[in-house]
Structures are given as structure tokens and as C-alpha cells.
């Protein structure tokens, strides 16, 4: 029984190409402990250690580089900003649910929120006090360090200026005493003037340095203050969130608004019932607009801003759309190229010409072309259908999305096409002989022999294409302003908030991890169709 489990585990590990887990399973079963431990050391411990080393180096070097957007974020800061992104996402989700909440659940939630607000009040007061205290402490520290530094600077500056004035005065005096024909003295005068200028410059740079030092002290982080401020910010943020939540659960709630609208409508209707003559028309108009407003409100959704997880999903969706578009074009053409030399010769100039073109060039072209199809995208039936579709409606597919997908398709289809052509063209001669001896027709030969034989190479191509597509997508989204990871990065860059830099670093890891997962999935597929039983995994 246990051995069956072991074989099953090993088979799963083999299928998913997670070879580094194998020694662990074997060790658990006591197989060759020495070798297994060594393997674990080699394939798991070493990479982990190297990664930790990387984190440490990063932590050490990051604060040393100061940029316009603040310091380079350390791992800790990056992780914090990741958490704040997720918190934001969670809160927006809550707000949406609050908007849509109804009945008893709503009442209960409202009560809870208000209670929490109450709890926060004293905490906030505390935090504010702490901030004040810290500020005071900071001021005190500054007085000790900054003021003298500043004073020193001022002194130095003053002294330099004084000296300069004196030198100039002396020079003027000297100048007055020089005759017209005393060239030697004139020369001396110039030399001395030059010396004076140099001295002034030196002195200036000296006292500038002092100023910088003083400024550095001023700007230096005062941990106590920073921590107090951070805590206050968190509390303030939560407070704000709770206030909004309360709003969503009470007056802003959809149910509430619908009820409200209904009441108004009823009132209008009552009025209408009792009115006559000329008053009827404006009333009718009001009733009509009230009705349609009510209908809209009943159907309305919470205007949720795009959070990172939502953008991740949209990006992944976009890359798959582009990937499938590209594969649907690349595979048939690749098959034809592999089957017919003439066709391959015909396609070669196109492949050679268009393969190296960068996505950054394709994107504007696709934006224009796709824009041409949909002059008024918001009203076009294509998009309105999609936006109302059940699962994918919230993605809000727009021309920018399509243009990004098209760019992904355009750049990633080459790998699949070339690999498919190669796979089809290089079917083992012996397999073809089998087909010849059996006198298989064209179609049976294609589907039973040529395509299955080519499948491993096709999937190798698909895997490369997906990888390329993922890279291309981020760039395309950034340029097309299509909601997604690319746009997130660009927004943060333009934002210039204190944690923007950290958020961008978070995106680096997110993109990398998603790319890794996509590659892994493709490896599993590749494994499944390969018949030699092994697949290069890099």
C-alpha cells in the first residue's frame, strides 16, 4: 500500500517536472538516505541559501542609493507594500459587498462597522499623541544636531563672504595704485584676482558641503517619528475605510437607494394620480425618469477601482487570448510550411521580415487598426455584449485589450510557427515508411503519423511562445493603457507616492512568479505529449 503511494507520488513528480521534490519522497521512504540528503542539499538547500544571500545583499545595498522617488526599497519595505496592496484589494472587495448587501446581514455588518469605528477613536487619539511626542522629540534632537550644523554653515558662509569682500577691497586699493604703463603690476593684479576667484569658489564649496550635511541631518529618518507616523497612517486609513464602509451599508447601499427611489416614485405616482391638466405632463416626465433611474440603480454595481489581483487576472486573460490567437494562426501555417517546401519558401520572407519587429512597434499599429473597427467602442454591440457576459463581464474588454492581445499574438506566434514547421518536416523517415507500406492516404497519414510525431516540437514552440507573450504583454499594456500589470507599473511611476517604488518592485516579483507558473503548466503539457519521456526543463 505504502509502496503504491510512493510510486504514485513519484509519478506525479515526474509528470509535473518538479524533480527536486523526488529526493524528499525517497528520503521519507528511507531509500539511500545518504544520496537523498546530498541531492536535497544540492537541489533545494543551495538554491534557497543563494536566494537568501541575494535578499541580504539587496537589503544591504538598497538604502545606499537615493533617488527622486525615495530610496531603493529594501525587501522588508517591498513586502510591506505588497501587504498594503492586498489590504486595499480586500477592502475594496468588502465595499463592493457592502454596496450589494441586503436585509439582516446588512444590518448586522453595519452595527459591527460602527462598533469598530468607535474602537478606533481612542486609538487614533493615542496615535496622534504619539506623533506629537515624536515630533517634539525629533525637534529636540534636531536642535541638538541640526541647529549647530546650520549655525556652522551660516558662520562659514558669512566668514567666506566677509573674506571675499575684504579681498575685493584690497584689490581695488591695489588697482588704484597702478600706473598705465606698469604692465607687470597689471599682470600681477590679474593673477591675484584669479586667485581670489578660486579662493571664493573653494570657500563656497566648503560651506555648501556644510549645508548638505545640515540638510542630511534634517532629512535623516527619525525612526520614532517614522514609526509613529506609520501607525497613525494605518489607523487613519482604516478609519477612512470604515467610514466608507458604513456609507456603503447605509445611505449608499443599493438596497437603501432602491428603497429610497421607490419611495420617491410612489410619491410621484400618488401625485400623478391626484393631478390633472397641464400638471400631468411634467409629472409624467418625472415619473418616467424616476422609473428609469430606479431601474438603473437596481442593476447598478459598485464602481470598484482596479486592484492588483484584478489586474493580474486581466493580464493573464489577455495573454491567453493573445496566445490562442497566435497559436491558431501559427499552427496551421506551420503545418503547411512543414508539408510543402514551396509553401515554406513562400513564407520565409514574411517570417524573416516580421519576426524581429518589436512589440513596441506593433502596438500603435494595432491600436489604430482595431480602433478603426470600433469608432465608438462604448456603444458597439461587440463590447456591450462582452461587458454583459456572465463571467468575463467585469474584465471590461476594450479595444486597448484587443490591441494588447493582438500584439502578444504577433510577437509570440513565430516560435510556434517555426517549431511546428520543423516538427512536421522532420518526421522520422522510418515512420513515413510505415505509412508508405500501408499505403495510407494523405489525410490519415497527416493525422495519424505526421501530426502526432510533430506534437512534441509543437508544444516546445508553444511553451516558448507563451513565455515571449507574457513578456510582450506587460510592455503592451503599459503603452496601451490597458488595465493590467503593465498599467499598474506605469500608474505607480507617474504617481510618485512614497511607496510607488516598492510597489513596482512587487510587480517585478509578481510578473516573475506568474511567468514561472505559466511555464510550468506548459512543461506539464509538453511532458504529456512527449513520447521519449523526458523534456528539457530550463
Amino acid at each position: 500500500m505504502l509502496t503504491k503511494l510512493k510510486h504514485l507520488l513519484l509519478k506525479i513528480i515526474d509528470l509535473t517536472a518538479l524533480g527536486f521534490l523526488e529526493p524528499i519522497v525517497r528520503l521519507c521512504y528511507g531509500e539511500e538516505p545518504g544520496t537523498q540528503v546530498k541531492k536535497i542539499g544540492q537541489f533545494m538547500m543551495v538554491p534557497v541559501l543563494v536566494f537568501l544571500l541575494f535578499i541580504m545583499v539587496w537589503s544591504a545595498f538598497a538604502p545606499r542609493h537615493k533617488t527622486k522617488s525615495g530610496e531603493v526599497p529594501t525587501p522588508a519595505v517591498t513586502f510591506d507594500s505588497y501587504r498594503s496592496i492586498m489590504t486595499f484589494h480586500g477592502r475594496e472587495g468588502d465595499k463592493e459587498r457592502a454596496y450589494l448587501a441586503t436585509g439582516d446581514a446588512r444590518e448586522k455588518w453595519l452595527a459591527e462597522a460602527e462598533a469598530r469605528l468607535e474602537e478606533l477613536k481612542p486609538l487614533r487619539a493615542e496615535a496622534e499623541a504619539a506623533v506629537e511626542e515624536a515630533e517634539a522629540a525629533h525637534q529636540g534632537a534636531l536642535t541638538a544636531t541640526y541647529d549647530p550644523a546650520l549655525a556652522e554653515y551660516n558662520e562659514a558662509r558669512q566668514a567666506a563672504m566677509e573674506e571675499s569682500k575684504q579681498r575685493i577691497a584690497k584689490l581695488k586699493v591695489r588697482a588704484e595704485g597702478i600706473a598705465a604703463d606698469d604692465s607687470a603690476a597689471k599682470g600681477e593684479l590679474l593673477a591675484v584676482y584669479r586667485a581670489h576667484t578660486a579662493q571664493t569658489a573653494n570657500a563656497k564649496s566648503d560651506y555648501q558641503k556644510l549645508k548638505q550635511q545640515a540638510d542630511a541631518i534634517l532629512k535623516a529618518k527619525f525612526p520614532q517619528l517614522a514609526a509613529a507616523r506609520a501607525r497613525l497612517t494605518r489607523i487613519a486609513e482604516e478609519e477612512q475605510y470604515l467610514k466608507q464602509l458604513v456609507k456603503m451599508l447605509s445611505g449608499g447601499n443599493r438596497e437603501a437607494r432602491v428603497a429610497d427611489g421607490q419611495t420617491k416614485l410612489d410619491a410621484l405616482r400618488a401625485q400623478y394620480a391626484g393631478a390633472e391638466g397641464a400638471a400631468l405632463f411634467p409629472l409624467a416626465k418625472s415619473i418616467n425618469s424616476a422609473e428609469s433611474r430606479l431601474a438603473r440603480t437596481a442593476e447598478s454595481a459598485y464602481a470598484k477601482p482596479w486592484t492588483l489581483p484584478m489586474q493580474i487576472i486581466r493580464s493573464v486573460y489577455c495573454v491567453f487570448v493573445g496566445f490562442f490567437m497566435g497559436s491558431v494562426i501559427a499552427i496551421p501555417i506551420g503545418v503547411l510550411c512543414g508539408l510543402s517546401r514551396t509553401f515554406m519558401a513562400a513564407m520565409t520572407p514574411f517570417i524573416a521580415l516580421f519576426k524581429p519587429v518589436s512589440p513596441i512597434v506593433w502596438l500603435p499599429i494595432f491600436l489604430i487598426v482595431i480602433g478603426g473597427f470600433f469608432p465608438d467602442p462604448d456603444k458597439h454591440w461587440f463590447f456591450t455584449t462582452l461587458w454583459n457576459a456572465p463571467l468575463i463581464g467585469w474584465l471590461k474588454i476594450n479595444p486597448a485589450f484587443l490591441a494588447s492581445a493582438a500584439t502578444v499574438a504577433m510577437c509570440s506566434l513565430w516560435a510556434t510557427m517555426v517549431n511546428t514547421a520543423l516538427g512536421v518536416a522532420s518526421v522520422d523517415k522510418d515512420h513515413i515508411n510505415v505509412a508508405r507500406v500501408l499505403r495510407l492516404g494523405f489525410w490519415p497519414r497527416l493525422f495519424k503519423i505526421v501530426l502526432p510525431s510533430a506534437l512534441p516540437l509543437v508544444f516546445a514552440g508553444l511553451r516558448i511562445s507563451l513565455g515571449v507573450g507574457w513578456m510582450v504583454l506587460i510592455a503592451a499594456e503599459l503603452l496601451a493603457s490597458s488595465e493590467g500589470l503593465g498599467k499598474f507599473v506605469w500608474d505607480q511611476f507617474n504617481n510618485g507616492a512614497s511607496d510607488s517604488f516598492a510597489k513596482m518592485v512587487v510587480v517585478v516579483f509578481v510578473v516573475g512568479i506568474i511567468g514561472l507558473l505559466l511555464d510550468r503548466i506548459m512543461i506539464v503539457f509538453q511532458r504529456a505529449v512527449s513520447f521519449e519521456g523526458s523534456v528539457a526543463t530550463v
Partner: protein, 307 residues
């Protein structure tokens, strides 16, 4: 019994030569194979044995001459001449049963699915793989793969079975096993067979007659040796037979002779320039001598007048 079931007449295979005349790998190969006969073909490497076999199979284009099987000249490859190659070349994405089914579907288009499955199972059990039907090639040893190759070939119900050094890649024990498998099948199905092999003992064990090819280029039949052992063959009896050693010696002598002859073959060619003066030849019916099973007046070569 049709003694001319397979006729290979004046077979020539020439390859174009970028720097001169085409190179004739096989030049004037003549062989008749009787129905149900097993012909072994031996010769030095590169002498053109495989070329002759692939031309018979229709996988290689014939430059000159013809090959007639069961009264019809061959026209490209087909399931009537099934081939077993040295490398099994099973389709690796199919199981053993599916590989055999590929041929069965072709040859029994009107059978039901059930019937076809039975046929596949029958042939796989003939080669001793009844319990490996659903294995894929990568899960099978070389010997097992070759068995599937053999099953796939005979399932085509071919008129002629062509084996191109089928056991070349296998170890001797597996080889002996598979020799018996094939002999067993041949005794059962009475297929006309051409076997190419490097192994002299294998040739003697398996064949009714052995065709010894001269060296290439311009290879043709050197000698043909009758193997008088009766069927079904018993390995021990064959090895112990008085004649075994002499037969073996004859084959080895031939091979050794052409070891030395390799480079002087051109010079030794009997020059018989063709002339149009003498009329071509005819054959007659059977004429038998008193205590032999043969004779048949043979067509003379076209003889030149002396200058």
C-alpha cells in the same frame, strides 16, 4: 507450387554521381523465389542487400529491371510486401496494439471493431506479447519492440515478408528466441520471405536457400546455396547435422573470398560486350535429369563474335 512466385529480373540500382557516370550499386541482380520459400541473403556490409530489399518493398526506386510478385509487377510500396526493419520503428505515441491496429484497419476495412481487436490480439499473441498489448514502445525492450514490428508486418496478410537484418540490434539469446518466433509463424502462414542477415548461422537456420551477394558496387548474386534441412527446423538437429559445418564453411568461404576481392572486383569482371548480331534467348519447359529434381534449359547470355 509456383516456383516463380517472386521474380527479380536484371535489377539495377544506380545513383547519380556528381563527378562522373552514375554509380551502379546493384547491377544485374537475378533471383526467383518460390511460393512459401524463405530466402536468406548474405553479403558484406554495403554490398547492396538492403538496396535490393527496399527495391522489392517498393520503398526505393528501381533504376532498371523489374520485380514481379505473384504475376504482377510491383508499383511502389504496399501492404502486400510487409517489411520488418532493423530498427523496429514503432510509432512511439501508440501502444503495441494500436501499432498493429494501424495495419489491420487498412487490410480489413470491412471488419467490425470487435473483429479487428481480435485480429490484433491474435497476432500479438503469435509473437508472444499477449500481455503487453497496451504498453508503449518506450516501456518495452528492444526484443519486445521487434516482436511488435513482426506482428504488425504479418497482420497485413502480405504476399511477401521482407526482413532487413531484423535481429541485428539484439543480443544472441533474444535473437534465437525471435528466430524461432519467425520460423513458427512462417510454418503456420507459409509466407514467401526474404531475410537479410549478417549472421551465417542465422541464415542457415532460417532459410530454405541462401543467396550470397557479391560485393558492391555492381553487386549481383554470387552463389545460391540450398539448405536441405526439413521444416519445421529443430535447432539442435540442424546444428548436429553432418552437412551443417560444410554449409557454413561454404558461406564463410564466399564471404572471405569477397573480403579480398573487394577492390579488384572491377578488373575481374567478365567482359562480355553486348552485340546485336545474335538473337536473344528463349526458355523451354521442364527437362529433368534422372536423379535430380531440376533442370531447365537456360537462356544463354548474348555472346559477342570474336574480333
Amino acid at each position: 507450387m509456383n516456383k516463380r512466385y517472386v521474380e527479380i529480373v536484371n535489377l539495377v540500382k544506380a545513383y547519380p554521381n556528381p563527378v562522373g557516370d552514375p554509380i551502379r550499386v546493384v547491377d544485374g541482380f537475378n533471383l526467383n523465389i518460390a511460393e512459401g520459400e524463405v530466402i536468406g541473403v548474405i553479403g558484406h556490409s554495403g554490398c547492396g542487400k538492403s538496396t535490393v530489399l527496399t527495391m522489392t518493398a517498393g520503398l526505393n526506386e528501381i533504376t532498371n529491371g523489374n520485380i514481379v510478385v505473384d504475376g504482377k509487377e510491383i508499383d511502389g510500396p504496399g501492404p502486400d510486401r510487409a517489411v520488418v526493419f532493423q530498427a523496429p520503428c514503432l510509432l512511439p505515441w501508440m501502444t503495441a496494439a494500436q501499432n498493429v491496429m494501424l495495419g489491420v484497419k487498412r487490410v480489413y476495412p470491412h471488419a467490425t471493431k470487435r473483429q479487428r481487436k481480435d485480429i490484433v490480439a491474435y497476432y500479438l499473441s503469435l509473437v508472444g506479447l499477449a500481455d503487453a498489448m497496451d504498453k508503449r514502445p518506450r516501456e518495452m525492450s528492444g526484443g519486445m519492440q521487434q516482436r511488435v514490428g513482426i506482428a504488425r508486418a504479418i497482420a497485413l496478410k502480405p504476399k511477401m515478408l521482407l526482413l532487413d537484418e531484423p535481429f541485428g540490434r539484439l543480443d544472441s539469446l533474444t535473437r534465437m528466441d525471435l528466430q524461432d518466433v519467425i520460423l513458427d509463424i512462417l510454418d503456420r502462414e507459409k509466407l514467401t520471405t526474404m531475410v537479410i542477415t549478417h549472421d551465417v548461422d542465422e541464415a542457415i537456420y532460417m532459410s530454405d536457400r541462401i543467396c550470397m551477394m557479391t560485393n558492391g558496387p555492381r553487386a549481383r548474386v554470387g552463389q545460391v546455396l540450398d539448405i536441405p534441412f526439413e521444416r519445421p527446423r529443430d535447432r539442435k538437429a540442424v546444428l548436429a547435422h553432418d552437412l551443417y559445418y560444410d554449409l557454413r564453411g561454404c558461406l564463410i568461404d564466399f564471404l572471405e573470398k569477397f573480403e579480398k576481392k573487394k577492390h579488384t572486383d572491377q578488373a575481374e569482371e567478365i567482359a562480355a560486350p553486348r552485340s546485336a548480331k545474335e538473337p536473344p534467348i528463349s526458355t523451354r519447359g521442364d527437362v529433368s535429369a534422372r536423379d535430380a529434381t531440376l533442370t531447365n534449359p537456360l537462356t544463354l547470355a548474348v555472346v559477342s563474335p570474336m574480333a
